[in-house]
């Protein structure tokens, strides 16, 4: 697996592959020293591994005056502490109430507006008004987060009947994207405030909301999405193929489901600037409310959005290869590392097939080094 060293790495990872270290030992077969390779790799993984660090916030090289990003917080100087206290007062007493008010206005107008538009009969007027409502409310919400977004390559913006895929860092990714265009959202039906918003918006615009039971049925999901994409007058679907929030330093494995639907894929790369605030949602550590509170008390949300040229699946490519191709393009544009690991490892155990692959590679080396072959030749000659 390709490894790129992180700027904040703790240890020097040894890049020697299994082949180089074990196969070069020119004595025929198994040696006691083979264990050193596995041992060292194991300990390197214990001290610092590529995967689990993606599920927690990125560590910054220079502090941005938010204690939450200073992991090893210690007192540095009186002047810095004073500046920090001023910062806290500004953020909590001044910015937070402003932002909260804006957010409340935004959400209320979204619910009221989309319900109102939803009463109209289906027509081009309705579609136009729905777009206006969605865009306006989205813009209010982005202001509520003090978002500064730079869009690049707007000519590649997703078109109707296409599928927009992007890397996933937080729930606000959707708002960042809808600030500049209208999309049909795909997601699970939630309860509470989120559920109210979902029910209101689906009247105005054909979003695709699934019940929890329906999500388990992959064929049903694919079928519904396929129907949506086939209708060229419908808005592009917005999908996050990683399936979970990653900390914006890397792009993990894309689930192939989105790439089996067909149609044109419009990749989008989103990169947040960590100096102004940490956008990553660590769902195992914070619930959505405390996450939103943290976002609203950061300095700002600054991010870059790149619209990449559309891609279609080639004749000789299968869904997995296509997914990897799209992923590479997004990672390259956003300056993120690519990891072949599944984002689901946040919660699930890794599959045994990977361990079996390692065992197979090692066995091949033992066999290749000739000992087994020569042994069977000996027994034959007996």
């Amino acid at each position: 697996m390709p490894r790129t060293p992180t700027a904040n790495g703790i240890i020097e990872r040894d890049e020697t592959t299994m082949e180089k270290e074990i196969a070069l030992l020119h004595r025929a077969d198994f040696e006691f020293s083979h264990i050193f390779y596995f041992c060292r790799k194991g300990f390197e993984a214990i001290v610092e591994d590529e995967v689990t660090q993606r599920f927690s916030s990125e560590e910054l090289l220079s502090w941005n005056l938010l204690t939450r990003t200073n992991v090893n917080f210690h007192y540095i100087s009186l002047r810095l502490t004073v500046v920090w206290v001023i910062g806290v007062i500004v953020r909590y007493c001044f910015l937070l109430p402003l932002r909260f008010t804006l957010a409340a206005i935004g959400i209320t107008s979204m619910i009221v507006g989309t319900t109102a538009v939803g009463q109209l009969p289906n027509s081009s007027v309705k579609n136009y008004l729905s777009e206006v409502v969605h865009l306006t409310c989205s813009r209010i919400l982005v202001r509520a987060l003090s978002g500064t977004i730079h869009y690049h390559n707007k000519e590649n913006r997703p078109r109707k009947g296409g599928i927009c895929v992007a890397n996933h860092t937080s729930p606000i990714d959707a708002i960042i994207l809808t600030n500049d265009g209208c999309y049909a959202m795909v997601g699970q039906v939630h309860g509470g405030l989120m559920g109210i918003i979902q029910r209101a918006t689906v009247k105005a615009c054909p979003h695709v909301w699934f019940e929890r039971s329906e999500m388990k049925d992959r064929h049903l999901v694919t079928k519904r999405l396929r129907e949506h994409v086939a209708d060229k007058s419908k808005l592009p679907i917005l999908i996050f193929p990683e399936g979970t929030c990653i900390n914006n330093t890397s792009v993990m494995m894309f689930k192939k489901g989105s790439f089996e639907i067909g149609g044109t894929i419009y990749p989008v790369a989103i990169k947040y600037d960590p100096q102004f605030g940490d956008a990553f949602w660590n769902s195992s550590k914070y619930n959505i409310v405390s996450y939103l509170l943290r976002i609203m008390t950061s300095w700002a949300i600054v991010c870059n959005v790149w619209y990449l040229p559309p891609m279609v699946r080639k004749e000789d490519e299968d869904a997995v290869q296509f997914a990897n191709r799209v992923r590479s393009a997004i990672a390259r544009q956003g300056g993120l590392t690519e990891l072949p690991w599944d984002g689901g490892l946040k919660r699930a155990k890794v599959k045994d097939t990977f361990k079996e692959e390692q065992q197979k590679n090692y066995s091949k080396m033992l066999v290749r080094n000739g000992s087994i072959g020569s042994l069977s030749a000996e027994t034959e000659s007996d």
């Binding site: 703790i10 060292r40 300990f43 591994d49 361990k355 066995s363």
Partner: protein, 209 residues
Amino acid sequence: MKKSGSITSPSWSDKFSQGLFFGLFCHEMCFLQFIWVSHSQITRLYSRFTSLDKGENGTLSREDFQRIPELAINPLGDRIINAFFPEGEDQVNFRGFMRTLAHFRPIEDNEKSKDQNGPEPLNSRSNKLHFAFRLYDLDKDDKISRDELLQVLRMMVGVNISDEQLGSIADRTIQEADQDGDSAISFAEFVKVLEKVDVEQKMSIRFLH
């Protein structure tokens, strides 16, 4: 460390004693010259320890280690995890964690001429070899028997090599290394087999700062 909080949530006294322990521990480290890691390295490793400790009770269990994907796919992952836990225990605290990691410190040249009367540092060549020996010696009887070697080999190759072939590999390895004819490898024989191997380089992890 006496636990006064509940099992599921650490109390304030737990956290305080953890912090205090950590502070004292740093001093202990430097004073005993036991492990000789720098202060920043201890801080980084403690930060790593707490991030692995999902239960937030100051100790790691085997499941916490299994959660590291790169370790879970390592064929010898279970043996490595086992090395952290002393006999019969299911939890390892930060001191035990550092103790085991200390075996992988690189050997610095100027350390070789240090205090000869003190205890041998954990990262000496002999102790590194002893650590590797213990990975093979499953029942901890200071000998690697044919069965033990077979079991470790089976872990490393999975299902890809037959029993007979694996058996012959084990037999040949023991035959080559065994000097006193007891069909088992003692630590001295183990050391002799590996005398030409650069153990210091292969069993070391370098810190970047």
